[in-house]
């Protein structure tokens, strides 16, 4: 039901983006994708989605503008503080036993989660031996993540979240205020590799001890979720950890057997090996 023509236009647009630019949104969850495409059409001033497709095919400069609508940018530092508290209290003690660590923030968007983890690892004394990988498909988001600059208006929320996560320092130790912006200390990204990586089309990464990928899979359809979860399992070291968003679950996945619950209520899983 709904507007059948618009549904056809959306399918064609996603196919055009894939064939022309190799960004594959064809298996993203439909309802949210449709809202974002319609929003892009309105705000970018196109008369129809087909008109937007026409411009996109012939003018590559349109792509980044559209990508900023299609990929999700909204997050906050230490979102769901209980997740970070569980990492601190239950996962970190296990990670302490390794001489070197790799952590993958998959779908890092503007970097809020990356800096949260970097701060947490520093507070727990693991920063010197940890290499972080922060990946996203959106080049603008990766640039923002690399910059680590957030509006000061967000800081109160970030600070509150940080405290609730079991903070050992004040969040203000990690940034300087500058003209309405909070500029996070560059030492927090000294051991971070920023990279373009797609969970839809790219392959297994390195041997990770922790993968944090929250509120990314929620945008995928079931088969695509399974692909990403398979990728995560293949990218984890033995007994490695996977953290998902609070409303995401392995329950219905083909890979459910590949993981065991580690902190069930926080959606923290551990790779299971036979």
């Amino acid at each position: 039901m709904g507007d059948a023509v618009e549904d056809i236009e959306i399918a064609l647009l996603l196919e055009a983006i894939y064939q022309r630019y190799h960004y594959d949104f064809r298996h993203y969850a439909g309802a949210s994708m449709k809202r974002r495409i319609v929003q892009a059409r309105t705000q970018l001033g196109f008369a129809s989605i087909s008109a937007m497709q026409d411009r996109l095919l012939h003018d590559p400069a349109t792509l980044p503008r559209l990508l900023n609508y299609l990929t999700v940018q909204v997050s906050e530092m230490f979102r769901d503080p209980s997740y970070f508290r569980a990492l601190r209290e239950k996962v970190i003690p296990h990670l302490q036993t390794y001489p070197s660590l790799k952590v993958w923030v998959a779908g890092c968007s503007n970097g809020e989660e990356l800096y949260s983890l970097s701060i947490l690892f520093r507070e727990e004394g693991l920063d010197q031996r940890t290499l972080f990988y922060a990946t996203d498909i959106n080049p603008d988001a990766l640039k923002a993540a690399e910059a680590g600059v957030y509006p000061l208006s967000e800081i109160r929320k970030f600070t509150e979240n940080h405290q609730k996560s079991g903070a050992r320092n004040s969040l203000s130790d990690y940034y300087t205020a500058d003209y309405g912006r909070a500029v996070f200390d560059k030492s927090l990204r000294a051991q971070v590799v920023f990279s373009d990586h797609s969970l839809v089309t790219d392959a297994v990464f390195a041997e990770m001890h922790l993968i944090s990928c929250r509120n990314v899979l929620i945008y995928f359809d079931r088969p695509l979720q399974d692909r990403a979860l398979g990728l995560f399992r293949g990218s984890l070291a033995r007994k490695g950890f996977l953290g998902l968003g609070s409303k995401e679950s392995l329950r219905f996945s083909a890979h459910a057997d590949g993981f065991s619950d580690y902190v069930r209520e926080e959606k923290i899983y551990q790779r299971r090996d036979a």
Partner: protein, 191 residues
Amino acid sequence: MSTAPIEAVAIGASAGAVQALLHILPALPADMIVPILIVVHVPPDRANALVTLFQDRCRLRVKEAEDKEPIANGTVYFAPSDYHLLVEGQRSLALSSDEAVNHSRPAIDVLFETAADAFGPALAAIVMTGANHDGSDGVRAVADAGGTIIVEDPASAQVPTMPAAALAACPTAHIMPLNDILAYLVGLTAR
């Protein structure tokens, strides 16, 4: 009322929601088939306590909506806090972390617009008490898709702002006090 049989009900409520829903949901009969999807504005950092509150008081199954969950008959779904609740084309539920709409996540507009898309004329959307304008764009989408729109009578709503805004957006909506909304929902069972 629209002549198409109603296959889903979507409800949006904000300030005063709990009291209004307590008037409605516990009174619904156990044999009600039509699923009910509800967005209530709750603070993002608080677990949504509505499911617990209504579970024991209702004859219908009450649960928090899960991502990719098929919509089951005779079930009341609440949006979780800090996520939008959407309906997919195949009539399953979806959650999203998209930015707040009308300063709200979950937002009533998001539920109404996607439910209108999925159910078309088979959707009844109900706007209840609230102190903001969320749901106004949503009722327009429901109207465009040929669905039924009911607005709690601003004269008797605990907080009239939201129903009044919905009425302004959709002047042809049916205006009902809570008792009539309840009777309407019970009537869906009889058909």
